[in-house]
Amino acid sequence: MPKLSYLKAMNRALADSLDRDQSVFLLGEDIRVAASNLTAGLLTRFGPDRVLDTPLSEQAFTNFATGAALAGMRPVIEFQIPSLLFLVFEQIANQAHKFSLMTGGQCRVPVTYVVTGSGSRTGWAGQHSDHPYTLLAHVGVKTVVPAAPTDAYGLLVSAIRDDDPVVFFAPSAALGVREDVDFTTLAPVPVGVGRVARSGDDVTVVAIGHLVHDALSVADELAGHGISVEVFDPRTVYPLDLDGLAASVAKTRRLVVIDDSNRTSGFAAEILAVAAERFTLDAPPRRVTRPDGAVLPFALALDRAIQPDRDQLVAAINAVLEDR
């Protein structure tokens, strides 16, 4: 079967969406030459009217997309850097997100915001290494963080078809992931539905984005030690697949979350809060996260030291299994 990379899957999702629906168009910085490779080939295929290079005016072009959406289009914006979402936070959280309710349901704002390369990009340091998906989820903007190429394809297609704003994070550490795929089976993946990435009995590890792959490899490793890890990948940060999560935890009764957010009120905090409210666990749950207020230092070892890693995950799993 052919190999499909994560980035290529996204590219394909864009192409299929442009092809299917004339109201879809792309805008962003350096997307015509495809500096990030996300939009490779799309200018040639769809022309400059549908692949718009923008000046460095993030706030205006984000609102521009909102305006275009109000007029019936389905804009897809590529942001080159995760922290650009900070720069346009008002335009997403306070404009695009609020139009539907504030107008009494008169309009829809189907804009998709894509961050190609979120989280640490090795060597890009403090202002280029954020992973702010929790921020968007907290304000209630639909937010997806796929781990695998097929999900990247399926969730990007769904995000574009969704009638609300959706933020799509493509973690830098996942962009190179490849999957054997029969291309004819590529299909939309619904927003808000998780998946069991690996089935197990002893403990549920909730992981999202690139960390799903770390969780899977830890699960492999621990299988050798007689520990059966279930990996639950929510795929969507908000709205969360509570039923999927509940089903997994009902089986394992133990919970660890690995999350590339800062710790305080991060994605993992929400999972633990839900667990505290609803689940019966046999041991206190754990979270493996970035530290509070994390600013990624440049030096490689420091950058890595701040990100949640496999060793920490193993330790957390062992801790929740301790009193078995």
Partner: protein, 313 residues
């Protein structure tokens, strides 16, 4: 548009605002409003130059814009009173009046935000093969917001059919325009290659004429135009100022500012009896609006989150 029609519009806005202020005082309108009193000629003149297919965006001081655009005063007043029959079903309030059926893409409470939204909408319409023109209203204070300046650049670069209408009423809340704007307002627009004009914002006919030219230019595919409409805010920045006196405009200045009243200016162009007839008609409309709004149901708290999402799994 006839002399009488323009008069009707400015008079309607004036009296709507005066009555709304009373409803703020009596507590029927909660949270207050930013009165448009004194600036009516701009909304009236600009909207008179548009066709039904055109679109506008408005501001925190937006009642005049939407009334001039043809919004039903009953629905607007009901909105200000937070009723289910309101323009936005009571969800928006004074600062968010929207009527998509009239091309009103919403008032915006964030200064400077709407210009880029209007630009995007105008661009989209053109891309869809329509010859829609968009108008975006904003104040002198908005000229210092980076996102608005960015929008000027996008509009000019891509020759978007959008008209930037700056209502220079001399103040951003209490900040005088001279203390806030280095250089000139039209100079800023011109720096982006956008033709910019200073327009007498107290005379509806002058505004109409200037806007008509800008609309023609936009429809002809020649891109954006910028109008700086010189005006004066006769009343408070916001009705909270009626309670908390803020010391930033002298009585003399206010008196001088009020001396050129758009309602008087346009009214003088009509015979007395015709004007009186319009006035009476408007009072009847507003009486009906008040009755409608006061008699309308409040939204059901159980539906507080209705419309939050278009779709939700």
């Amino acid at each position: 548009m006839s002399t009488a029609d323009l008069y009707r519009t400015v008079r309607l806005i004036r009296r709507f605002e005066e009555r709304a202020i009373e409803f703020v005082r009596s507590g029927e309108i909660v949270g207050g409003i930013h009165p448009y009193v004194g600036q009516e000629a701009i909304a009236a003149g600009v909207c008179a130059a548009l066709t039904p297919d055109d679109v506008i965006t408005s501001t925190h001081r937006g009642h005049g814009h939407v009334l001039a655009r043809g919004v039903d005063p009953r629905q607007l007043l009901a909105e200000l009173m937070g009723r289910e029959s309101g323009l936005n079903k009571g969800r928006g309030g004074s600062m968010h009046a929207a009527d998509f059926s009239l091309g009103i893409l919403g008032a915006n409470a964030i200064v400077g935000a709407a210009a880029s939204i209007a630009t995007g909408a105008a661009w989209a319409h053109r891309r869809q093969g329509r010859d829609t023109v968009a108008v975006t209203f904003f104040g002198d204070g908005a000229m210092n917001e980076g996102m608005l300046l960015e929008a000027l650049n996008l509009a000019a670069l891509w020759r978007v059919p959008v008209i930037f209408v700056c209502e220079n009423n001399g103040y951003a809340t209490t900040m005088p325009v001279e203390s806030a704007v280095a250089g000139s307002i039209t100079g800023r627009a011109e720096a982006f290659g956008i033709p910019a004009y200073i327009v007498d914002g107290q005379d509806p006919e002058t505004v109409l004429e200037a806007t008509t030219a800008a609309v023609e230019r936009a429809r002809a595919g020649e891109g954006p135009t910028f109008m700086e409409c010189m005006t004066y805010r006769f009343d408070a920045h916001h009705t909270f100022e009626h309670r908390a006196r803020l010391d930033y405009r002298s009585a003399d200045q206010v008196a001088f500012g009020r001396s050129r009243d758009p309602v008087v200016i346009q009214g003088a162009r009509l015979p007395d009896d015709e004007r009186a007839a319009v006035d009476a008609e408007i009072e009847a409309v507003l009486d009906a609006a008040a009755g409608f709004a006061l008699g309308s149901a409040h939204p059901d708290p159980a539906e507080a989150l209705k419309y939050l999402y278009a779709v939700m799994p």
